[in-house]
């Protein structure tokens, strides 16, 4: 392991909660509905993060707890029952309904597992109910997906068939590219989790080889291991380097020679390097500060340093699973400063002191930093854009070069904000 500097920090945090991951999960599984059992704050959070108004009838909603629901839990269960009935009547196309716990539902100990169990009996053969928590007291942003996937694992049938299972939400076009490349490598049995339809869950077992596409799936990985799956250890497929090592790790697990992998992906690498060049020109030597939010920070830091030659000032991460991130951390340059957790005020002090060229941060902080003359990239864009794989390396770099390029065009750095 490279000599990376690990730090921990605690204090006020400026991060989304796990409910936010519904924004991409509902797009991945269009036959599912995500019903948050929470407060008006939860509803407002999701609509603010997602810009929900573009949907006529979104595939997610909130059962908003009211005063009378807090008075007696029995009534709250009944009320939830009523809301679910209304919803299913209105939206008969729903195949899987996720009951998503929130901060208030966790604090009052609303037992969504029991509610789901009852509903499963009632709607047997029509709708499946699963529950997980996306609460801010337990989960950060992308961790919501971890909870949702973990909740689906018990519904997955067992199979001894040998297969490659890609785990973590991918953009559909990226998923198709990956499958094509794996087929060219000679791996033909490939499935994705989450699937594109919530009802088409992959079967898993001891010959399932799991290749993670996202770095925030600790609980899902643990449960997949319990089901006998083999977890392929690899960095994440961001950038050329990460993707190459990711393909190589999968090939090794399927006893495919390295030579074969290089033969298939070399043309892609050459093409991607060419595309990356113009971005590298802008990013090279620029100093980067990553605030914690999406949990992709370590992989992004690795890509932006190793392939785009940016200098890393600080790499924030909401939490650190050293086991899951082992391969990534090994690729980081020596003396990289990783900070787990956050004290947002102290961290912003460090941002100002270190005078970075680019800060990766949440939407709440971006404009205030820009107003101070510091270029920013919002981290939420990483989870909405197709950034995985060799073919997307230049697009990924583009997300970071664009604000810098824009800053060059608009030369005045500090402006009066209104």
């Amino acid at each position: 392991m490279s000599k990376v500097e690990f730090n921990k920090e605690s204090g006020p945090r400026e991060v989304f909660c796990g409910l936010t991951s519904i924004v991409w999960l509902h797009r991945r599984m269009p036959d599912a509905f995500f019903l948050v059992v929470g407060s008006r704050t939860c509803a407002h959070l999701i609509q603010s993060a997602a810009g929900v108004m573009i949907f006529a009838e979104p595939r997610f909603g909130t059962a908003i707890l009211e005063e009378k629901d807090l008075a007696g839990l029995a009534d709250a269960h009944e009320e939830l029952d009523r809301v679910v009935n209304d919803l299913i009547e209105r939206r008969p196309e729903i195949k899987t309904l996720f009951l998503v716990g929130s901060c208030p539902s966790e604090v009052i100990k609303l037992d969504l597992a029991t509610v789901a169990e009852k509903l499963n009996k009632r709607f047997l053969g029509q709708v499946r109910f699963v529950n997980y928590s996306g609460s801010g007291i337990e989960t950060t942003f992308t961790q919501g997906e971890d909870g949702a996937l973990k909740a689906l694992i018990p519904l997955m049938d067992s199979s001894k068939e040998e297969k490659l299972l890609l785990v973590g939400t991918l953009a559909n076009n990226v998923e198709d590219r990956f499958k094509k490349i794996f087929k060219n490598l000679g791996i033909s049995n490939i499935e994705s989790f989450p699937p594109r339809q919530s009802t088409e869950l992959p079967k898993i077992g001891k010959n399932t080889k799991v290749l993670l596409t996202q770095p925030y799936l600790s609980d899902t990985v643990r449960d997949l291991k319990h089901r006998g799956c083999e977890i392929i250890s690899a960095p994440f497929p961001l950038g050329i380097e990460g993707s190459t090592k990711w393909f190589l790790a999968a090939a090794k697990a399927f006893k495919i020679s390295e030579l074969k992998v290089h033969e298939i992906i070399s043309p892609l690498i050459n093409r991607a390097k060419l595309a990356l060049d113009s971005h590298k020109e802008i990013l090279k030597g620029k100093r980067l500060f990553l605030l914690p939010e999406s949990q992709l920070e370590i992989s992004l830091a690795r890509f932006l340093h190793n392939e785009c030659e940016m200098d890393l000032i600080e790499v924030g991460t909401p939490y650190l699973n050293k086991d899951l991130m082992k391969e990534e951390i090994n690729l980081l340059p020596d003396n990289t400063k990783i900070v787990e957790g956050q004290h947002v005020e102290k961290q912003l002090d460090r941002v100002r002191e270190s005078n970075p060229d680019l800060v990766v941060c949440g939407m709440g902080l971006a404009n205030p930093l820009e107003a101070e003359g510091i270029s920013t990239k919002w981290s939420i864009e990483m989870v909405f854009s197709p950034i995985h794989g060799i073919d997307q390396a230049a697009d990924l770099a583009g997300l970071f070069s664009k604000p810098l390029k824009r800053n060059q065009i608009l030369t005045s750095k500090t402006l009066v904000t209104h």
Binding site: G11, R13, R40, G136, I137, G364, L415, T417
Partner: protein
């Protein structure tokens, strides 16, 4: 429990944030879990604010719940006070913290600070954003002024005379995330200044705690947004005898009525009465011949209480529209909206459910929708032009240009914003004349072109449904052909009316003649 797919208002602590963020030298410590920090983006993204809201979130986690969350609250309060050195501290909790009952306000008061501390108790499970903003502004005003209550005489609105100066007023209610508040205050200040009235304090927008303490230097209060300022105005009236205005100066008539009300309250003679009607272009633009086509346009209105009521009055009295629907999501103002609706012979829609609003919109078959950004989306789906008149805020509602809703310039803005989505008069006249020419058949409509496909769908779906409908009404070929000749923007109404007529008369098949019979019957 209420199923909500989308909500017009956020939780009450977001209302408190609006007050804190609008002001200077204030800090708000909010006992809340991580995730609640999303609210920052409402200010930094939607309003493009270059400063973070002055809010410290305690961001407690599940593991803190077993331990001492009260200590965590105190630690955050201490750090926030040291770092931000506020002149006044707001302390409160979001929905989750309300359940664990740490009473952060009481904790803060026990910490020995010498600054005023406002303990905000905003019930998250029964109240919403505007209520939270109103309560916060009221509590803040009360906290900063309560010591002066007994020592002050009731404020005589006529005292400016004895004091030998121009009358002074406060403008209360404008806040961040309020619809065009930024520009409304400039417009209203300008109007008052022209009338010889000085503005003492504008609050909460841009005010400091010190400014709140100075509120009583003015003679009267202008309650510009009832949703935010009425509670504070009432308290100032009850305790200092400060009168406040009720008229919201949106539209020409209400701006004039507002100026009259201010003059009456201050006993200031109004000397330029005749000039007032000519201060805005709206009256003439509305009277000019091109605007003939606006007469009787069917308009559906939904928004916050203040803007919905104002829009209804302007629509009917200043533009000559017909109001076919009126509603609000502001339950606090339901009574007033109902009264306005009654005067217009429509039933008020009071709801927080946008799907109900969309249904009502469909049934009312309007030619123009005045609503929130959500109604803009609904109207787009229905192919109806729309102008946005109310919060919830969207980045588009914070235009770069000066764009008030209130006063003279506000009336100009309203004329343009409401009329431009419609077709211009001459344009509509020509289309009516040439509607049978090939350029104007479906698929060749101008900027509302997306309705073309809808027409086709709607005729096809009708064909399917019509034959099976329980009334058994069938559209014959001639009836259908005639219907396609009706301009697309009234086609829905014509179709509904014709079917209604057919049912009434027991006519099983609708032909072109039935269409004309129905037209005559309903005209």
């Amino acid at each position: 429990m209420e199923l909500t797919l989308w909500t017009y208002e956020g939780p009450p602590h977001v209302g408190a944030m609006r007050i804190a963020s609008s002001m200077k030298d204030i800090h708000y410590v909010l006992h809340a879990p991580q995730g609640d920090t999303y609210a920052d983006l409402l200010f930094t993204m939607i309003e493009r604010r270059g400063q973070r809201p002055p809010v410290t979130y305690t961001t407690f986690q599940a593991r803190d719940l077993g331990g001492d969350t009260a200590e965590l609250v105190k630690k955050n309060i201490k750090e926030a006070v040291e770092r931000f050195k506020p002149k006044t501290l707001l302390v409160g909790e979001s929905c989750t913290a309300e359940l664990i009952q740490d009473q952060p306000g009481a904790l803060a008061k026990g910490m020995g600070f010498d600054m005023p501390i406002v303990n905000l108790e905003l019930p998250a499970y029964s109240k919403k954003e505007n209520w939270g903003a109103s309560e916060t502004f009221y509590q803040l005003t009360r906290t900063l002024l309560k010591e002066k209550v007994s020592s002050s005489d009731k404020i005589n609105p006529l005292r400016w005379r004895e004091l030998g100066r121009r009358p002074k007023v406060n403008i209360l209610g404008p806040s961040l995330l309020g619809f065009r508040c930024r520009d409304d205050v400039i417009e209203i200040q300008r109007i008052l200044s022209e009338q010889g009235i000085d503005t003492n304090v504008i609050a909460p927008l841009g005010a400091s705690p010190h400014d709140i303490e100075r509120l009583i230097d003015a003679e009267i209060n202008i309650c510009l947004y009832q949703e935010i300022a009425e509670a504070a105005c009432e308290w100032l009236k009850g305790n200092f005898g400060m009168e406040y205005t009720n008229t919201i100066p949106i539209g020409i008539k209400n701006t004039i009525a507002f100026i009259n009300e201010v003059h009456e309250k201050l006993d200031l003679p109004l000397t330029n009465k005749e000039e007032l009607e000519n201060k805005s272009k709206l009256p003439w633009y509305s009277k000019s011949v091109d605007s003939n086509y606006l007469t009787g346009k069917r308009v559906f209105i939904f928004g916050d209480g203040t803007h919905a009521i104002a829009a209804a009055k302007i629509a009917k009295e200043e533009l000559g529209f017909e109001v076919v629907g009126l509603g609000t999501y502001s339950r606090e103002m339901a009574r007033q909206v109902r009264a306005t609706a009654k005067d217009l012979n429509v039933e008020a829609l009071i709801t927080n459910n946008y799907l109900e609003v969309e249904d009502a919109m469909k049934k009312a078959a309007p030619e123009l929708v005045l609503g929130t950004q959500m109604e803009r989306h609904s109207a787009k789906r229905l192919g109806i032009p729309c102008s946005v008149i109310s919060t919830p805020m969207h980045v588009q509602d914070v235009p770069a240009r000066y764009s008030p809703q209130m006063g003279w310039e506000g009336a100009n803005v309203i004329f343009d914003d409401w009329v431009h989505p419609l077709m211009m008069g001459l344009e509509e006249h020509l289309i009516d004349m040439f509607k049978h020419d090939f350029e104007f058949v479906d698929g060749h409509q101008s900027h509302l072109g997306h309705t073309a496909t809808q027409t086709k769908d709607f005729l096809e779906s009708h064909e399917k449904k019509g034959k099976n409908s329980k009334e058994g009404i069938i559209w014959t070929e001639s009836g259908r052909a005639e219907l396609t000749k009706v301009p697309f923007f009234v086609r829905g109404k014509v179709k509904t009316n014709t079917e209604k007529y057919a049912i009434l008369r027991g006519i099983p098949e609708i032909s072109d003649e039935t269409l004309y019979d129905a037209k005559a019957y309903f005209s």
